[in-house]
């Protein structure tokens, strides 16, 4: 009955813990491994112009609704200008304005963007476009082309593909050449395609964006064609006719308007540069959680001050160490002084590293023990005696630090956090066991403590473990579930198999 309740409870804890873990991992994109980095890009737009002396207004399209990407940070550098960032028909704009300006002016917009697969295009279905009225002979050419493409296609998607194929490879086709005109660039091709698509009553629009690269100073703004198939927007390359957006294509703005519109200035020069940088995926995941207005993602240890974070980084590993102690004591059957003394010793090992820590522990306990035996003769009361041993332990640590510093070992200096009280209690307990049960038992328990501490240290020090408990503290619920289940373990301890070996076989 009780077993069954514990199992249900443990299962519940594990499910909750793993559920939050999975959500943070899959949806928010918290990293499973330490030291991974996420690629982000810094996109910078520089707008330079000469102001005429009167009021100046400049509007620059900036990324807003960009499928597949999210903005982590934005900066507007515009000395003397006021600015707003309204949504306009083509997307999002920054509008700079100043009452009076003269001479060379430079405005900057900088955004840090990162991949965000959860960001999708959200748009309403557009109305059917009106059939364009063109002058002859263009109108006839258009109608002929529409007829021809329609016979070779089945739906808006295949229509667009077929049309763009025709536009891309005219092969001496008179209608196409007439409609495209001489030496068409990609924008011309896109515009022509939009006209013909409108004639076939298929909604389409021009979209501009940039191809993200590792580093480029003068990025071309590329036009792309968006076609609505009645359900969603599809992307087509206006030059080749291929469907789909290229990877790492940042959609910037839509429509016919230019990137920058300027009133009250001349000699406009616009440059877009891109640089890819690596960023901590945790920062990115947290931004994503903020964007989602997600309490779970925001409710993270990373919102604490750095100092507290360091403390919790250590603290969160303690339950893992405790679980190790549970396994070593209840499943294996190792004897130790005190229940969780080894975990605290293991924490001290973090400062000193294992070899030094173990050496230090043994030396301090051995010297402390001999001094404790001497003190037995002085017949001090318990508390003063403990205080005296504590003082001696501290003095020994100072001594060790000084000696190791003289010898050039810097590790000796980091013993400061070695838990003196724990050492003192260990020495006291060990001396009692020594007196009452003999040196054999005392040494056995001492070595057991040291061994458990070393294993705890090794497990708690696994970088992945540290990373997981810090980024996903909910995993401690799973640890708790495991601890609960181990709490109901009634089987033999491994050492008992040896202890009762006489009884394994033979006569009854």
């Amino acid at each position: 009955m009780s077993d069954y309740k514990v199992s249900i409870f443990a299962l519940l804890l594990a499910v909750v813990g793993l559920g939050i873990f999975a959500y943070k991992l899959r949806v928010l994109g918290f990293p499973l491994q330490p030291h991974v980095e996420t690629q982000t890009w810094t996109v910078e737009t520089r707008v330079a112009f000469k102001a005429a002396g009167g009021p100046v207004k400049a509007s620059l399209f900036i990324p807003g609704l960009t499928p597949g990407f999210s903005i982590m940070a934005e900066n507007f550098v515009s000395r003397g200008f006021g600015f707003t960032t309204p949504y306009v028909s083509g997307g999002r704009q920054v509008q700079w304005a100043v009452r009076q300006a003269e001479g060379a002016q430079t405005l900057y917009y900088r955004a840090v963007v990162y991949r965000d697969p959860t960001r999708l295009q959200s748009d309403t279905t557009p109305p059917f476009p009106p059939v364009p009225k063109l002058a002859e002979p263009f109108n006839t050419a258009m109608e002929t082309l529409v007829e021809r493409v329609r016979t070779r296609s089945a739906d808006p998607t295949s229509f667009t593909a077929e049309l763009l194929q025709q536009l891309a490879r005219p092969n001496g086709d008179q209608e196409v050449e007439l409609l495209l005109g001489d030496a068409p660039d990609s924008v011309d091709r896109a515009r022509t395609a939009m006209t013909i698509l409108a004639a076939a009553r298929i909604p389409s629009r021009l979209v501009r964006g940039v191809q993200m690269t590792a580093r480029e100073r003068n990025v071309d703004v590329v036009p792309w064609l968006e076609v609505h198939d009645g359900e969603r927007w599809l992307y087509f390359d206006p030059v080749t006719g291929n469907e789909g957006l290229p990877p790492d294509f940042l959609v910037w703005w839509r429509g016919e308007d230019p990137l920058v519109q300027l009133d009250g200035g001349s000699d406009l020069d616009v440059a877009v540069s891109i640089q890819s940088t690596a960023a901590d995926p945790i920062v990115v995941a947290r931004r994503r959680a903020e964007a989602h207005q997600d309490r779970i993602g925001e409710f993270s240890l990373f919102s604490l001050p750095i100092e507290s974070q360091a403390v919790y980084g250590v603290l969160l590993a303690v339950p893992i160490g405790a679980l190790v102690v549970v396994i070593l004591r209840n499943i294996i059957g190792v004897q130790t002084f005190g229940t969780f003394m080894p975990v605290l010793i293991a924490l001290a090992f973090r400062e000193t590293k294992l070899l030094w820590g173990a050496l230090l522990f043994s030396v301090l306990v051995a010297i402390g023990l001999s001094i404790r035996f001497y003190m037995e003769r002085l017949r001090l009361l318990l508390v003063p005696r403990l205080a005296a041993v504590l003082t001696i332990v501290v003095l020994l640590m100072v001594f060790v630090s000084l000696v190791s510093h003289e010898l050039g070992f810097e590790t000796g200096l980091s013993v400061g956090l070695f838990p003196m009280v724990i050492l003192t209690m260990t020495i006291e307990r060990m001396s009692i066991v020594w007196e009452e049960r003999g040196p054999g038992d005392a040494t056995k328990q001492g070595l057991g403590s040291l061994m458990v501490a070393a294993i705890c240290y090794l497990v708690m020090g696994i970088e992945l473990v540290e990373h997981l408990v810090f980024v996903f503290p909910e995993l401690l619920l799973v640890t708790l579930a495991a601890t609960l289940l181990l709490g109901r373990y009634t089987g033999y301890r491994l050492t008992e198999l040896l202890r009762f070996r006489e009884m394994r076989s033979g006569e009854g």
Binding site: L381, R437, R499, E502
Partner: protein, 317 residues
Amino acid sequence: MLGWARQLRERGVLGMNERNTEYIMRFNPRRLYPLVDDKLLTKELALKAGIAVPELYGVIRAEHDIAGLGELVRDRQDFAIKPAHGSGGDGIMVVTGRSPRAPGLYRLADGSVISESEIGFHLSNILSGQFSLGGHRDVALLEYCIKVDPLFSEYSFQGVPDIRVIVLRGYPVMAMIRLPTRRSRGKANLHQGAIGAGIDLASGVTTYGVHGNSRAIEHPDTGATIAGLAIPRWEYLLTLAARSYELTGLGYVGVDIVLDRRFGPLILELNARPGLNIQICNRAGLRLRLERAVALPAEPDIAARVAKSRELFATAA
């Protein structure tokens, strides 16, 4: 490894984890622990119920009481000092004699002589909680020093042998005797080298001895044969053990009984977490016996329980 575990399971060997969860937690309510963890309380309880225990000479409760030690034991040649909350025999000091010429000198069980101030230091350590579980403040008991029954003089080196009976719900289920040796320095603790011998619950005769991890045929210091020793007044001894259930209400206890030359069987202490070595000495698993005892009906009549136990848990011939 799994094979080993299965063999132990088949033979009904009780492991530490199972003992803790299935018997101690199930049959021993936490609130009853003080009754056995505090030896002073146990003694008071036993006296009230008319159960034989070693006589209490005095209690040292505070540091300044230590000065009155000489006065307390003025008329006693021998006595034992015990921490009320000690466990596993830690902190027990047995004084067996005093120097007739220098009243401040005492002889201990191992023959050494110490001064009153040294005893005072030991008492002070007891008071400050050195031997108590968790290091809490403690009190020291001064009590009657058990005189070994001559029957056991050949079976023990110094010290006093004690008989441990495991009792479940008032039914004795297994018993052993612990014989001090030179190696155990007169202590009846198996960890420290005392010999343990199983006792047939039906007859009260020892069956099989264990010393450390190996079989003991003879006592290493006296040469006496371990097996075949008949414990006198066995029925009475089992009754004494079985009464511990009514005394404390604890369902699963180890009752430690000594045989005194003058007073016969005396309850020395009760243990709410008795060890598992008794299984090795008896070459029998506790779990099978405990399971059978669990199934027995609640029986208020102590004699009937003892009779039932002797019938059920006799060592198979």
